[in-house]
Amino acid sequence: MTPIWSGLSIGAVYALIAIGYNVVFIAYTTFNFAHAQLMMFAIFVTYWGLVVAELPVLLIFAIAAVGVGLIALLEEFVAIRPVKGAHAHLVTTLGMATLLDGTTRLIWGDQVLKVPAVGSDATFTLLGGRISVPEVVLVVSVVAIAVAMIVYSRRSLTGLALLAMAEDRDAALLRGINVKRLALGAFVFTGVLAGLTGPLVGPKTFAVSTLAAALALKGFVALAIGGFGSLPGALLGGFLVGLVESLTGRWLGSQLPTIMVFVVLLLILMLKPTGLFGTTRERMV
């Protein structure tokens, strides 16, 4: 049972990344390569706050949320706004990702830093498997965030406006939706969300400058499994990737998990390229 709990909790992290990708996808029909870097930055900020500066927990959450939100704002202005088209954005957001990777390495170096839990880090036995308090908090929070976002996107006007924008940007504009501001809001939201969840994720992943690349890929696989634009899909996809990774590591050896996740990606792309919850939109001429 332990590998299952462990898989679910790391899967929650991947789900978070996939949710971030999804929000940007809904708002811009584009892909933010650097989203995982935002998360990594939040984790390093948590490490700095808890271990180096020894700040109160709430202040750390606030600093991470505001700081990473600002980085997202900056990214929107320099890497998203000036260019059009998903492929151009791939290059600029990849640039942003590389820049953030480099900055992180410059500030915190290459070594793996252990991030303490913000609360209790006790471990206990649940249904025959060991699980720690931070892991439980992580899984529960991610599920709650996803559910809240799903409800919000379907019930609130802002959510509906976002969906309308994803469907047809020009039509939404004509309907009086301030497309630019809404999209910017969504983008900054992904940064703030990464900032707020960073302290929860840190104890699970540790802080290391190569973390973002790994998170980006697993998050992408979660997204591909769930389907682009689907929040429930992102959640489910994240947990699936986490379980595949953890169970492969447990039963097949420590060298194989990442390769296995790659195989899962290839399989899903071959068998159901739109993902479990994705829809094909028919092309218009």
């Binding site: 953030l100 480099g102 890929l217 739109t274």
Partner: protein, 605 residues
Amino acid sequence: MALPRQLRALPSWTIPLVLGVLLVAAPWLGISSGTRRLLLLTCILALLSSGLNLSFGYAGELALGQAAMYATGAYLTGYLAMHWVNDLALLVLVAAAAALVVGLVSGVPGLRLGGWSLAMTSFFLVLLVPQFLDLLEHYTGGAVGMVGIPRPRLFGAELSSLDMYVVVAVITVCWFALMRNLITSRHGVAFQVLRESPILASSLGISVYRMKLTAYAIGAIPAGIAGALFAYVDKYLAPHSFGFTLAVTVLAASILGGAKSIYGPFVGAAVMQYGPLRSTEFEQYTQIVYGIFLILAGTLVANGLAGLADRAVARLAARWRPTPDVLATGEAAPAGPAPDGPALPPLTGARLEVTDVRKRFGGLQALGGVTLTAVPGQITALIGPNGSGKTTLLNVICGYYRIDSGSIHLGDAEITGRSTHDVARAGVARTFQTPLFPQHITVREAVAAGAYSPRHVGMAAAILRLPRYRRAAAADRAEVDDVLRLVGAARLADVEAASLPLGTRRLLEVARALVARPKVLLLDEVASGLDEDEIDRLAELIRAIRAAGTTVILVEHNFRLVLDLADAIHVLAQSELIASGTPDEIENHPRVLSEYLGVRQEVHP
């Protein structure tokens, strides 16, 4: 004054050839051994970036997998040279083939989804490189690296490091020559059509998926070759040479030189090797610099140094030899069929039968059981109010949409549910409501694209410029000239197609469709936005096409024009056919008058 003109008159490959010879001969021109090594590494990086250009710049798919293919080529070469046979020529081939396999394995799934999934899949592939090297530690040396690669031998003779430089330079020059042949052939134009408009590409019979896969897979070949060469040059391989940093370096060299250029990667690679990659202090800041560079290059620089050079050459050329303003003279003698132009050669038409076709988009019924037949040598018109389903019907015939029920036959063959490029290859050509012409493509190239799949010539033939390719290219040229003369646009052959006025672009779309020698020609609102003179000329052209024997289906709002041209008219309203008949019958049909023309009528029960 005369020199630039003479330079412009030289074949476009002259200067690259001279530079290529200089590159190979560089060791005898008194360069230091340090410079020689830099040039060598430049060649290797240029090979990698050139492969990326094919998929990123030309086919429009960002891929980062070059590093993985490079690693495959390098490790395979290293291992085989130590344990099997040490022959450079053979191992270069093996490495190229292995890289091609890696390209196919990652490209087949990666391209299924379109968009950025190839970028992510290939990125994943790169991050897996160290893991695979670890897994195969017994063969690769794992994290320690592979040591003991012997000096290269070529046909039995051991190569000195000078010989090796010459080999690398020659291979690089050859690769760029082949690449140049590919890009300047019709395949190069097909790639650009693909990047700018997949919709247009598939209507020309190009399979978007296959073509992108081909570009990505061919791009793997130079990466594999570069890997083999690198293994022999350094004789030591370690995982850190093949990581994400390399992938970004390759991308940076490609963008810097110009992703949509043939020789740009070499310049980009040279700048990278002489600049950032040489200094060791740079290491700490590598990622920061690359990151900023990618953001800046992605936002500010259009097509890198090659783009800048192109613009500079164009400006110089314009100063020395002002080109007559074709568009301005076009005012005096607007495009249109010349009165004494050549007649169309006979075309074979095919009967198109649409039977009880239904199509819903969610809750909206777009086609509710439409049945009609169009026969060769006739113009079948489709009219109806906006939103009545005319264009949907064309899109359904072309295979852009899957239908819910019903069937579509072309001659004796059923084309229901076949993909767009298949339908196009079966002989259906079309024009679009908004004419589709990719940027930076001349009228001649754009129109010749119509012949790309009907008279397909393989890439190998194009790359090696085999007689088959030369014959097809000559035939293309003659045919395009004829068709352009027919639509009265012969003077515009070398102008950028996308820059022309709407009326001319509509005629060019018809020309492009004609070059495909279609069995069925679908014209979607081809007269809208044209003035009266242009409409007359268009009508003449459409009649000539009918006389040639093709089946013509005309979707049009201009009721007069339709009555004038059509042999049979079908009227769609609210997704159903409300009337079919000859122009006379339709002109007086009560429902047509009330629903389409809005004429008030007393309805006799």
